[in-house]
């Protein structure tokens, strides 16, 4: 699509606009009746359009020579005869004001005389009204001259523009909706427009420029955090794909975390469920869960950004421990916010964080659990914008979901290699992972999102049961809403207040899910299954006794999904075993007193 920006002059903002990628035509208005009248143009390599309203041929020719114009746009009542007098090598755009189908009839007289038509909102003032017209009228245009669409197009028009198609539609003319004042354009808005327009989401993992996966995601943050998220996004994009970062990240994952983690063919489990079942052993990571993949990645990013104070939120304490661990490794200050209730419930992890040198700060507001710890961490970040907020799952404002998913993608990258060795194929039939916020699932699914042959199974905690009022099955019980900076599926009451989830597993006890999961579940790319507290306990005991592996309660949810899925003999299944059960021994002790 051609993008023409009109109403430029010789000032700085016009120059910035002309330099934007994707801007094809720069328009200068040589009409004294316009608020954007200019007597100069810019030195730009882009095509220059002079806009004239009922001017004399002589005057127009003079301006073409003086300013080296490539195109002449005739925006008044210029007749076909008048246009015939123009030298052939000047491109012509003839503008028409459109209010009804009848206004299209005049175009027939101009067929063959103009390179483009321009259809604008009809007005006495020859355009510049800032309002749109009913584009459906153009369905009646059957001419062979391609046209540009004009009149009041703004950022808010994107959705409609994408829906409006016409065989002769050649581009868009942008003007008043993209300026700070007449003659002062807003390059930011124009750049956003072009990005949004050109965006094709070919991958489930692509976000639009505002950070949306489909309809979920975005950065719903107060202005106070805007610089922080922008700084983070810029740093991630510029640093995390460099060789320097990649080699350091790989090295740490190998020597410190202990990667690659095994892809273990669980023989007795396979026999029991009648399929070939592999366990991806994230439980063997240093600190006992996948969480550390992300904290290693983010701590390198934080260090690169020159940050020395790290903050994090934690529920069960796994992410807090993983953060405290990498902060110790890098010699950085670490503050972990943790709900007052969770501090009581998860005493051993609190102690681990303290031994690792972190300060654990209780979140005493609201329900005093993970969501409140997240609120506190965000508040801390607002008050201390120089600190680095190391978020623990694929949640929060854009770009966090993208960043965390990327750092966890090592899980599925290894699965591909390991499966190839073991089965001759790089992908399984199903991948199963539990979803709290969804970081281990995002990592385990990452390489397979765009391969429709792989079924992605997201397992949520049903708590005491979906209908019990004590559940954390967000994709079933949740509705779209905004929490912690993103629009996602959220458990909330009818009044939009966030409700307290329940799960026996503290790591799944979160009222939202990452926007990537909301998107893939809502579009049917992933299926969600809910597993209750009791079912998870049963699966934990089963894995312990069949394979000699005591899983984390979170991972036990994923394991129970094997019971709920229809499996075929030839199916190759990967279950992401996100963590080990040490941290859950108290619960196991309480629930299995008579073993």
């Amino acid at each position: 699509m051609i993008i023409k920006v009109c109403g430029l002059t010789d000032n700085q903002s016009s120059m910035q606009v002309a330099n934007l990628n994707g801007v094809d035509y720069t328009g200068f208005i040589f009409y004294e009746g316009s608020k954007r009248f200019t007597e100069t143009t810019l030195a730009t390599a882009k095509q220059k359009v002079g806009v004239f309203v009922n001017a004399s041929l002589q005057y127009i020719k003079e301006q073409v020579i003086k300013y080296n114009l490539d195109v002449v746009q005739l925006h008044g009542n210029e007749s076909p005869e008048f246009i015939r007098q123009f030298p052939k090598n000047i491109k012509i755009i003839k503008a028409f004001g459109i209010a009804t189908e009848a206004d299209l009839e005049a175009t027939q007289l101009y067929e063959g005389l103009a390179d483009y038509f321009l259809f604008d909102t009809k007005s006495e003032s020859h355009g510049g009204t800032g309002t749109t017209f009913n584009w459906q009228i153009l369905d009646a245009y059957k001419g062979s001259t391609p046209f540009l669409l004009s009149g009041g197009i703004g950022l808010e028009s994107i959705e409609k523009l994408k829906q409006f198609t016409h065989p002769q539609l050649a581009g868009y003319d942008l003007n008043s909706r993209f300026e700070l004042s007449p003659k002062v354009k807003d390059p930011d808005r124009i750049a956003t427009f072009i990005k949004l327009l050109n965006m094709k989401t070919t991958s489930y993992l692509d976000t639009d420029p505002l950070g949306f996966y489909g309809e979920f995601g975005g950065a719903y943050v107060p202005e106070l955090l805007r610089p922080n998220v922008e700084e983070l996004d810029a740093a991630f994009n510029s640093y995390c794909f460099t060789e320097e970062f990649e080699s350091e990240f790989k090295q740490l994952l190998k020597d410190y975390v202990g990667r690659p983690t095994p892809l273990y063919l669980a023989g007795r489990l396979s026999d029991k469920y009648g399929a070939t079942i592999y366990l991806k052993r994230e439980d063997l990571c240093h600190t006992g869960a996948h969480k550390v993949n992300n904290t290693v990645g983010q701590i390198l990013l934080a260090k690169h950004m020159g940050k020395t104070n790290i903050i994090a939120e934690t529920g069960a304490g796994q992410h807090g421990v993983a953060t405290a661990t990498v902060c110790a490794l890098m010699g950085l200050n670490c503050i972990v916010y943790m709900g007052e209730k969770d501090i009581e419930r998860q005493a051993p992890n609190v102690q681990r964080m303290k031994m690792l040198g972190a300060e654990v700060r209780p979140a005493t507001s609201g329900s005093k659990t993970l969501k409140d710890a997240t609120n506190e961490a965000i508040r801390h970040w607002i008050n201390h914008p120089d600190s680095y907020y190391l978020i623990g799952s694929v949640v929060g404002p854009h770009p966090y979901p993208k960043i965390v998913a990327y750092f966890q993608s090592v899980i599925s990258k290894e699965i591909e290699k390991q499966l190839l060795e073991k089965t001759g194929k790089t992908y399984p039939d199903k991948v199963i992972a539990c979803v709290g916020g969804g970081s281990n699932a995002a990592g385990a699914f990452y390489q397979f999102y765009d391969n429709p042959k792989v079924e992605l199974v997201a397992v949520e905690a049903a708590g005491l049961g979906i209908d019990s009022g004590k559940s954390a099955a967000t994709s079933v019980l949740g509705t779209p809403g905004v929490l912690h900076g993103s629009l996602t599926l959220l458990m909330q009451d009818a009044d939009g207040q966030v409700t307290e989830p329940h799960s026996i597993s503290a790591g799944l006890d979160y009222p939202g899910i990452g926007p990537l999961h909301a998107h893939t579940i809502a579009t049917g790319r992933a299926v969600s299954i809910s597993v209750t507290d009791d079912e998870a306990l049963q699966a934990a005991l089963e894995l312990s006794q069949l394979e000699g592996i005591i899983p984390a309660l979170e991972s036990a949810h994923a394991l129970y999904a094997l019971t709920k899925l229809e499996l075929k003999k030839e199916d190759v299944i990967v279950v992401n075993l996100s963590g080990r059960g040490d941290k859950d021994m108290n619960t196991y002790l309480e629930k299995f007193p008579n073993l």
Binding site: L180, V221, L224, N383, V482, G485, Q492
Partner: protein, 247 residues
């Protein structure tokens, strides 16, 4: 006509609807109007107010415990329609509003002649790309926040979008209710921001707690918005005296 444009400096008070009692709003609005406050911001309580300090968090959760809901809040305002003549602004996080239904909410706001909405977790770019049309349909102007750190071009963009209401300047980069001094650097930045806002009024909020600070702010901006300090006074039932001392 922009109801926030006056040729005098203005004072606005933020109240959390439903605090301290479910039906406190009526008395508060009438009292504030009587005392000569220029406009009032009515806070919609939310379970997870991420940009608020402990005081507003507490009022918000007490209001929710009292049973305050957005529908009820609008009903309470409706009952006061003929008694409150100063502009009312609704301020709240986006989620309760989305859940109520943006269309339904805006149409109620229009019927109530709400002068503007402040939705701190809605950014100007999200507004322009995703929500502008529906707000436009009901002609409710939105007010956006800036901070001293907001880049100049963005300030201009915000001022333009807010031309029928005002720009809300958060005095320093912090959550609500954190004390700070308006030093020379800050006040000259405020003055600069005031210029960038052009014809759009600029009001300073977050952390204004005294007459002195108000007077200081008046030197560079069009008015002040007071929340935490007022709510603290409400807690000890001294809000009338507090507002008196402030004005």
């Amino acid at each position: 006509m922009n109801p926030f444009k006056k040729d005098k400096k203005q004072v606005s008070i933020f109240v959390t609807a439903g605090y301290p009692k479910l039906d406190s709003l009526k008395g508060q609005l009438l009292q504030l109007q009587k005392q000569g406050v220029d406009f009032i911001e009515v806070g919609i309580p939310f379970s997870d107010p991420m940009a608020d300090g402990p005081v507003i968090q507490e009022t918000s959760s007490i209001a929710l415990e009292n049973g305050m809901k957005l529908g009820l809040l609008l009903d309470q305002l409706d009952a006061l329609r003929n008694e409150v003549h100063i502009p009312l602004v609704l301020m709240g996080y986006l989620n309760p509003v989305l859940q109520f239904g943006l269309d339904a909410f805006l149409s109620r706001c229009q019927a109530l002649s709400i002068a503007s909405l402040i939705l701190p977790d809605l950014s100007v770019e999200l507004y322009e790309t995703k929500y502008k049309e529906v707000f436009g349909k009901y002609k409710i102007p939105v007010t956006f926040l800036i901070t001293p750190l907001t880049p100049n071009e963005r300030v201009q963009r915000v001022a333009q979008v807010c031309q029928n209401s005002f720009v809300y300047l958060v005095g320093q980069n912090s959550i609500t209710g954190q004390g700070y001094a308006i030093n020379e650097g800050l006040s000259s930045r405020y003055a600069e921001l005031k210029k960038l806002c052009g014809a759009t009024p600029l009001f300073l909020g977050f952390g204004i707690d005294s007459k002195e600070k108000k007077e200081q702010a008046f030197k560079s901006v069009d008015g002040v918005i007071i929340g935490t300090a007022y709510l603290k006074a409400v807690k000890v039932e001294e809000e009338v005296k507090f507002v008196e001392g402030l004005l």
